[in-house]
């Protein structure tokens, strides 16, 4: 998912939270995979799979579904890890990520993170191709590449990065669908469109909450000018949602 850590919502508590002193190597590597994003990836991939296979519960291919979700999770975790590797210097300048992201906090070595990300991504892609099918694997790889090659660098260049990032971000249900049926049809793309549109209000909320942080670290996810920023935030919050709600109503059947 192209969005930023969803955990952010739980991270602005009324009471000061005790600083987590004990972070083990294991918990640091776990954090690198962005588990809070992975939760939504599991649900949307599985849903895409379930709707794509069209089988009744009694002959639902559980093993294949688990393989599809597992492979997708591995690639998504690899993507998240590699993104943190690329952005390690900037993450260190953001309050939101400086302490929470183990690499930005200097608790793990960049080279180790790079290899961890590569291994997860390759393992996930191969696993999908071997245990599920080639289409699911290709879609997962396309997600990883478009995220890291287009979205990640564009975050520092233009507020339109959100639009670009929403393309790879909406892939999980499509991967699930492809895993179940080996093909994509109109219904699969409808699910894709739902997730595509959903990301805009979701990400605008995050971008607004952390606008100073982003600006400090040199990200251009929102325009620096106040009125231009307000206009873009309003537009990207409301318009996609006005399309999302009627579209979501048509998803049944």
């Amino acid at each position: 998912m192209a969005t930023e850590p969803i955990l952010a919502v739980f991270d602005v508590p009324a009471l000061p939270r005790p600083r987590v002193a004990r972070s083990t190597l294991l918990s640091d590597y776990w954090a690198l995979t962005k588990p809070e994003v992975n939760f939504l990836i599991v649900i949307t991939t599985f849903s895409g799979f379930y709707l794509g296979c069209g089988a009744a519960w009694h002959d639902f291919p559980f093993v294949r579904a688990i393989n599809a979700v597992l492979g997708t999770l591995l690639v998504a975790s690899g993507t998240g890890t590699l993104n943190q590797y690329i952005e390690r210097r900037f993450d260190a300048q953001m309050r939101r990520t400086a302490r929470r992201r183990p690499l930005a906090a200097g608790r793990v070595k960049p080279t180790a993170v790079l290899w961890f990300g590569i291994v997860l991504s390759v393992l996930g892609s191969v696993y999908l191709a071997a245990a599920v099918n080639v289409l699911a694997s290709l879609l997962a790889m396309a997600t990883l590449l478009s995220y890291l090659l287009f979205y990640t660098p564009l975050k520092r260049k233009t507020p339109l990065c959100t639009v670009v990032g929403a393309f790879p971000g909406a892939m999980p249900p499509l991967i699930g669908w492809a895993a179940a049926s080996g093909q994509l049809n109109f219904q699969a793309w409808t699910l894709y469109a739902v997730l595509f549109l959903w990301q805009f209000p979701h990400f605008m909320a995050i971008a607004w909450m952390y606008r100073e942080d982003y600006a400090r670290a040199g990200y251009l996810v929102l325009p620096p000018n106040d009125s231009a920023r307000a206009r873009l935030v309003n537009l990207q919050t409301v318009l996609p949602l006005l399309a999302l709600v009627p579209l979501s109503l048509s998803c049944q059947g």
């Binding site: 919502v9 979701h202 605008m204 909320a205 607004w208 935030v233 309003n234 919050t237 999302l244």
Partner: protein, 57 residues
């Protein structure tokens, strides 16, 4: 209740909720409104997909 009706009502209810918090955010544009919109978005997505699955069982 038919499955299609169940899905329609569920998706409509969730959509209204999401829209409400989006409108609040656009009108106030405060950090607390943003946080509530973020929470609404995180509740909306898995809920919509679960309703979709339930309607297909």
């Amino acid at each position: 209740m038919g499955e299609a009706k169940f899905y329609f009502i569920g998706a409509l209810f969730l959509g209204w909720g999401f829209l409400y918090y989006a409108a609040q955010f656009v009108l106030r544009r405060s950090n607390s409104a943003a946080r509530r919109l973020l929470a609404a978005s995180i509740i909306y997505l898995p809920s919509l997909f679960v309703v979709m699955l339930l309607a297909h069982i």
